[in-house]
Symmetry: C2
Subunit: 272 residues, 2 copies
């Protein structure tokens, strides 16, 4: 870290709990390398305090933006003054930019980060058939981003089927030509298998899919960063599958987040 002075611009990450976040390290490292006089600090805020904290941030004139993470990504949506198309369709935001007049603009970069992470490891999603497990905020972002990246077909499997159907409906409104379907816990027949549920975060979690059906050519991807090797990834490796870890989704997103928070015109131009 370079020295913090009265001219340093302030950024934050909002989370509950907060202790495990890794974004400040990544963003501050990027700021330093880029020579920006800026710093990101963690803000631990409970759901009950989120709106009040955002009101305070609006009034901080040297505050430019923040990353928003669990459990605030959905709750923050009605608290924004404007949203990117992506955030609006997904119904969640993971990054905010504060304009000079105190407005908050919400964006959602999880999906773009996931796709950039795949590419950083040499996996081009264009043309791939995709099986996506989960239909929450992260899964929605990834579904939209894979659709935009040119996946050939997309199947969404979720414990709560109506949530999967609802997500499919939202995707089809933007990508009417993409074949979409609801899946079971059987991932057979897809080139890319993505776990976008939280199953695997805790020791002893059930597997998100029936891993005994995985075939050696399928690429199995996680979004969980900790543990690095989830039970699903261990099972996939045991069955001879190539795997994609959770870390690149965040590391590939750091530069995107920094640009969005700073108000990069290309990043925020689709806000309404």
């Amino acid at each position: 870290m370079t020295q913090i002075t009265g001219t340093t611009r302030v950024y934050a990450i909002l989370a509950d709990p907060i202790h495990h976040v890794k974004t400040p390290q990544g963003i501050n490292n990027l700021f330093q390398q880029a020579g920006f006089d800026a710093v990101m600090v963690p803000i631990h805020v409970a759901p009950s305090g989120l709106a009040t904290v955002l009101q305070g941030l609006r009034e901080m004139r040297n505050f430019d933006g923040c990353v928003v993470t669990v459990p605030h990504k959905t709750a923050v949506i009605p608290m924004c003054d404007a949203l990117t198309l992506e955030a609006r369709h997904i119904g969640a935001a993971n990054v905010l930019h504060r304009t000079a007049d105190g407005k908050l603009l919400g964006g959602m970069l999880d999906g773009e980060g996931f796709v950039a992470g795949l590419r950083s490891q040499g996996h081009e999603p264009q043309g791939l058939s995709v099986y996506l497990r989960g239909a929450g905020g992260a899964a929605s972002a990834i579904a939209f981003a894979l659709a935009r990246a040119g996946a050939s077909r997309l199947t969404i499997a979720n414990r709560n089927t109506s949530k999967a159907l609802e997500l499919i409906k939202r995707i089809s409104s933007l990508y009417p030509n993409l074949p979409l379907s609801v899946g079971s816990d059987n991932p057979q027949g897809y080139q890319l298998v993505v776990n976008a549920t939280s199953l695997g975060l805790s020791e002893g979690d059930a597997l998100p899919i029936d891993a005994s059906l995985l075939e050696p050519k399928q690429l199995v991807a996680e979004i969980i960063m900790q543990p690095v090797e989830t039970a699903l990834l261990r099972a996939a490796i045991a069955r001879g599958c190539p795997v994609h870890y959770g870390a690149p989704m965040l590391s590939s997103q750091i530069a995107l987040m920094a640009a969005f928070m700073r108000g990069d015109a290309n990043m925020v131009s689709d806000a309404t």
Copy 2:
């Protein structure tokens, strides 16, 4: 600076303007030397946004406290949940501690910092006759601290005489045996002459006192840090007076501020 992570405790300084503040450098240096996992950031907030920012800070669970400076020291008083005796009597606070349940406790350390700064330069105020110019927040804090430190008599001179009288009344209620009077712009006859007005901050300001009357044995003290050598100090040096610069008041206060913001029991025990 050491690395900021999800476990780092957050501190701030509230000011408007903010660019000139030097407290983050001092506090962050102290945190690092003490091995605290903590960081202070600047918060630029206008008077109209102060209450909203404080509400937001209450909801930040990893926020422990902040320094409050111009123009917020008086305005913050009714926004605190509790005040130290000193802050209540002075009617201004320059440091807040956030308790674990989101309460804000206000304290005023400017006076204590000024006295500690004098001592750090070998000037013991006990027994000195004092001429104090100014009756605002900083002057009030210094007046109370000099009374507590055992000044033998205290004269307060202010353009607005009723403000000086009002300050004298407040001091006499706590220090009934201290000789107090209202002064003119003539500092003759006092061992310590203190400028606690803002005259000298800007090039071309009028002198706060009639410096042509200064005598070579009088110690002339400033609270202005920038410029380092005000017109008053230059005039005092030209007349052969020893001088005391503005910087020690803040540098001597850094450790006091850090202890207060962190909730040090000795610092906050007189809150009501």
